[in-house]
Amino acid sequence: MLCQVEVVITFKKEIKDPEGDTIHKHLLLRRGYDSVKNVRAGKYLIFNVDVTNCSEALELIKTACEKLRLYNPTIHDVEVRIRG
């Protein structure tokens, strides 16, 4: 079966994110979305994996994230989950 796994890579809380800050300050706040307190930008990847069950796909992509350094642990947080 084909299973979709998604990976969301964002900067750690303590790492400044200029793209998110710009979207927040120059788009949201400028147009009155004052209740938005913070925006973080990141990278979103979708993997179509051919496996027997989705938990297998999840483990495979988690391993790939670490081994291939899809994210940089010095500056990023990563979230890996089944899509849908």
Binding site: K16, P18, T22, K43, L68, R69, L70, N72, T74, I75
Partner: protein, 229 residues
């Protein structure tokens, strides 16, 4: 005497500038080597030039760092071969774990291209052999992802073991932690730096108010290899 490999990845674009500097300033034999053809044996020093390997996709340097060529370069560092990573080359060396820290997008959110002033702290190794401690060097930067990030403990270790090239106060163009522009490994054999020494290796390329600060790096490697590094 002394052969320098300049390793080109898809998207590297400073290879010929570096070749020119190595030939005219270092006066060493040098070749641009396509990453697929790179073999570590027979080279006395290796340079990873700047550019946009793999279009900076995923992160600057992240994809190149996982190529066989980059892994062989990391092994060469282990064996003591001098390796210099300039700009994208520095990003590849940090992504590959050869040098500590990470290079995040510039704090200003933009690509920055301008001359900066740098200070060298505790120079060691073949690339900084002729540089005095505390020397001021001038070079241009040209990057979007040059904000050096390192933990406090990591920086303390760096200070005690390695050479650090810092932006002079007021010249930090990207929000780098501790004003770091470049670092070496503890042995000093691997140097990574965001500014471009090859663009600052000749007076003809140097604007008024600055000096050709990259020259001494190419003179140092020639000096070190001739001495038999």
């Amino acid at each position: 005497m002394g052969k320098v490999a300049i390793v080109k990845f898809p998207g590297t674009n400073c290879d010929w500038d570096v070749l020119h500097a190595v030939k005219t300033v270092s006066k060493l034999q040098s070749e641009v080597v396509w990453y697929k053809e790179f073999q570590p044996n027979g080279w006395d020093a290796i340079i990873i030039p700047g550019g946009f390997s793999y279009g900076d996709w995923l992160r600057a340097g992240a994809i190149a760092a996982k190529t066989t060529a980059a892994e062989k370069i990391a092994e060469s560092v282990e064996k003591g071969t001098p390796v210099l990573g300039i700009c994208n080359g520095f990003q590849i060396l940090t992504e590959g774990g050869v040098l500590p820290g990470a290079l995040a997008p510039n704090a200003c959110g933009r690509f920055v291209c301008r001359w900066v002033k740098l200070r060298v702290h505790k120079p060691k190794g073949p690339w900084l052999a002729l540089v005095n401690d505390g020397a001021e060097l001038h070079m241009p930067v040209a990057h979007a992802e040059g904000r050096y990030v390192i933990s406090e403990e990591g920086f303390k270790e760096l200070v005690s073991t390695s050479s650090i090239i810092k932006y002079v106060s007021g010249w930090n163009p990207n929000g780098s932690a501790y004003d770091v522009a470049g670092v070496t490994n503890p042995e000093g054999t691997a140097l990574g730096l965001m500014p471009h020494p090859e663009r600052a290796a000749e007076d003809e390329l140097t604007p008024r108010g600055f000096r050709a600060g990259g020259r001494v790096i190419f003179e140092s490697i020639a000096h070190s290899l001739k001495k038999g590094w």
